[in-house]
């Protein structure tokens, strides 16, 4: 699908560039573009963060990005251009961790496609975040299980109790 650009960018090789995403999703047919930029922030859950290491299973991450793109296209219809890029390696405060951009004829599909894609990247792509704190401690973030059987068990448990979405996602 040439209307989809997916990338994993090792921070040693370069940075994520919003202008590149904007250029990719721009098209004479499109009057609406929405872009989500996720950056490393300096606080999480009351602790001072000095940086984040991102670990990825790259081949499957790229496959997952492609599948997400196809899902967005099926759901909101063509024409659409979608850009999904995630950083890998040691990021500092303010560095860009993820960019998702969608270009469509009108704003509604652009907003919706962008939202679908970033939520899917966070919940489905094989990516792991390790936060480093000012006191020298480090911790891998709690995340979403990709194990179907486990998810079903957790969903069943949630249905049994009043459920707030308590995942500690960064941005």
């Amino acid at each position: 699908m040439t209307d989809l650009h997916t990338a994993v960018i090792d921070i040693c090789d370069g940075v994520l560039t919003p202008a590149d995403a904007l250029a990719f999703v721009s098209d004479p047919r499109f009057g609406g573009i929405d872009m989500f930029i996720g950056k490393v922030r300096e606080h999480n859950l009351g602790r001072v963060v000095t940086g984040i290491s991102y670990d990825l299973f790259e081949p499957l991450a790229l496959r997952t990005f492609e599948e997400i793109g196809e899902r967005a296209r099926r759901k909101f219809g063509a024409p659409m251009k979608l850009y999904i890029a995630h950083a890998k390696g040691e990021l500092r405060i303010g560095d860009i961790a993820v960019i998702v951009a969608a270009g469509t004829p009108h704003r509604d599909e652009a907003f919706k496609a962008c939202r679908l894609a970033i939520e899917a990247v966070k919940h489905e792509a094989p990516i792991w975040k390790q936060e480093h704190y000012i006191d020298g401690d480090s911790e891998w973030s709690e995340g979403c299980s990709l194990c179907e059987e486990q998810r079903e068990a957790e969903d069943a448990a949630k249905r049994g109790a009043a459920h707030g979405h308590d995942h500690h996602h960064g941005r």
């Binding site: 670990d55 094989p126 792991w128 979403c144 299980s145 194990c147 996602h169 960064g170």
Partner: protein, 86 residues
């Protein structure tokens, strides 16, 4: 068959090499491999909780492999703890 399991995220602490090799019977399902990995880690990496293995998924380079699936013929797998991208 010999199975090569790549480690990611919090499971990297299970082995500094970044992978674990296990001997699996043939045939073997992902669910059975999960038990083998749990037993292996209980012995060799007791700092890794059994709960983390329970919440982890197995995958090839192309797809998530659920418990009922057979091991891939090339014996190459990844074990994926709960994800936290973005």
């Amino acid at each position: 068959m010999k199975v090569h399991i790549s480690l990611f995220g919090a499971l990297r602490d299970a082995d500094p090499r970044g992978f674990i090799e296990l001997e699996a019977p043939e045939p073997c399902t992902i669910g059975e491999l999960r038990e083998l990995l749990r037993d292996h880690l209980r012995e060799h990496a007791p700092n890794i909780s059994a709960g983390l293995i329970q919440r982890s998924a197995f995958a090839s380079e192309n797809e998530i492999l659920h418990n009922h699936r057979a091991l891939p013929e090339n014996g190459q797998l990844a074990v994926l703890p709960p994800v936290s991208g973005g």
